[in-house]
């Protein structure tokens, strides 16, 4: 699994990656009450806001971790946004995307580096 400084995780699965936010980020956000997901098929560029999350505290955006195309979104989150707090790095993934350049992953942090980053 790879991590970004924006507290996203990326898990490669065949030729796509699954993207979510880290448990650390979920805890900082507090109870999540609303998630707005992009349309599958949307072409996104790195740092473009693709997901809106509202917690009991505030609204935040999730940016695309790299250039690519959204292939699937986790519809279950729309009905049960609290999943983000319960299983941020498992069932509560946000979207799957096909990276324009799979080597973008190489520049991202591994788990050890991310742990150091949030320490």
């Amino acid at each position: 699994m790879k991590f970004t400084e924006e507290h996203e995780w990326l898990r490669p699965e065949d030729d796509i990656v699954v993207v979510g936010i880290t448990e650390y980020a979920a805890e900082q956000l507090g109870d999540v009450v609303f998630v707005e997901l992009p349309e599958p098929g949307t072409t996104v560029t790195k740092d473009e806001e693709v997901v809106v999350i509202e917690s009991v505290k505030a609204a935040s955006d999730i940016a695309a971790p790299a250039d690519g195309e959204i292939t699937e979104v986790n519809e279950a989150l729309a009905d049960n946004p609290g999943m983000v707090n319960e299983d941020a790095q498992g069932d509560a993934w946000f979207f799957k995307m096909k990276l324009s350049d799979a080597s973008d992953l190489d520049d991202m942090m591994d788990e050890a580096a991310y742990k150091k980053f949030i320490a």
Partner: protein
């Protein structure tokens, strides 16, 4: 947070794992490890303990010795009938300004020989100065600085407090009474800011933390932070001073007329006689241009404070704005309150809140969003 004040429960908050934030000049717990959502639901299901020791407690002692004189004096500053307030009872009130706006909202309790008021933390210095300037010919204004203030709210509040202060169970909503206890003399009111049955308890400084600990040891009692306090009061349709009401909102616009008794309205026994009475009474006659209303978004996205409200899905100028907005854990939906032009304030009117550049449908709705469970 060097310049911030602390209540007597500061160490207890840290021990309980609270996240502390600056609030009204104090370092206060915004949440405990359970988090806002669980704290909110816990308060509605069992009992929640809140530290409200940052709020201002003030005794108004009549110079004449007759509490009716203190009541009459305070009537100069608030559009309430305080003469009719019976001993052992409390009433919601607000200080008005010359423009008919609101300087603060407060609770006024009538005791045997004095009035006891509780005001908002952020306003307390100004409120005390305001009362001293206006009332000193009739009352001594005595800030109470040696007592803490706790709120215990929820269906389990009565049993928890009754165990420590026998007799409180007999109180009704808005009653006030004092009780001897192992924690000194408690000044108790059956009221709160959550829409739940519950109590606010003024307790001597030295006994504040022991009382808080003893209450937390009762079955079902848990500490609740400012985060859940805000979603609880919003579900209950209660105003937050500084957000939903302020110096620019009149009681007529703020839909707080229920708190203005007949005696202080046109034709009443003591009509007017408070700052801004001309503005307020004429607005009462003609109707306000805007009104505070409840707003229930049709979608799931919360509409937070500052969200502009429109009459149409596209085009046109804003006809109002949201002053408080959050997710309501008990109603399991987003909820807001705000001001809209009177022509659009009818219950059931579909309006549009602009969230992230898109107009989302929202219905004008009755408040409270969740019915209160006061013990009347």
């Amino acid at each position: 947070m060097a310049d911030l004040r602390r209540t007597g429960l500061y160490d207890l908050h840290l021990e309980l794992g609270a996240k502390m934030v600056p609030f009204a000049g104090y370092e206060m717990p915004v949440q405990y490890p359970a988090g806002v959502m669980k704290e909110h639901l816990h308060c509605r299901a069992a009992a929640g303990l809140f530290d409200v020791g940052h709020m201002g407690q003030v005794i108004l002692r009549p110079l004449s010795g007759d509490v009716a004189d203190a009541a009459l004096a305070l009537e100069r500053l608030v559009p309430m009938d305080l003469l009719a307030l019976k001993e052992g009872r409390q009433r919601y009130a607000f200080f008005t300004n010359d423009a008919g706006g609101l300087l603060d909202d407060l609770m006024v309790a009538r005791w045997d020989d004095h009035l006891f008021v509780v005001v908002n933390a952020a306003c307390k210095a100004a409120d005390i100065a305001h009362m001293e300037a206006a009332l000193s010919d009739a009352v001594a204004v005595e800030p109470v600085t040696d007592r803490g203030l706790l709120a215990l709210q929820g269906p389990g509040a009565e049993a928890a407090l009754e165990a420590l202060a026998p007799g409180v169970a007999a109180m009704r909503f808005m009653d006030v009474a004092s009780f001897g206890s192992a924690f000194g003399t408690l000044w108790v009111s059956r009221s709160g800011y959550t829409g739940e049955d519950g109590f606010e308890i003024s307790v001597e400084e030295a006994h504040t933390e022991p009382l808080a600990r003893a209450l937390l040891e009762r079955e079902g009692a848990a500490p609740i932070g400012l985060g859940a306090r805000d979603s609880l009061r919003l579900e209950a349709g209660l105003c937050l001073y500084g957000s939903d009401i302020d110096a620019t909102t009149t009681p007529v616009e703020a839909a707080l007329l229920w708190a203005m008794q007949k005696a202080r309205r046109a034709g009443g026994a003591r009509a007017g006689g408070y700052p801004g009475a001309d503005v307020i009474l004429s607005q009462l006659e003609t109707g306000p241009a805007r009104l505070r209303v409840g707003l229930l978004p049709e979608g799931r996205a919360p509409m937070r404070a500052g969200t502009e409200v429109f009459a149409e899905e596209s085009g046109g100028a804003a006809i109002g704005h949201v002053t408080s907005g959050a997710y309501g854990p008990s109603i399991e939906a987003p909820m807001s309150m705000g001001y809209v032009a009177a022509a659009h304030a009818g219950i059931g009117t579909r309006l549009y809140g602009e969230v992230r550049g898109r107009r989302m449908p929202v219905l004008v709705a009755e408040m409270p969003f969740r019915p209160a469970t006061y013990k009347r």
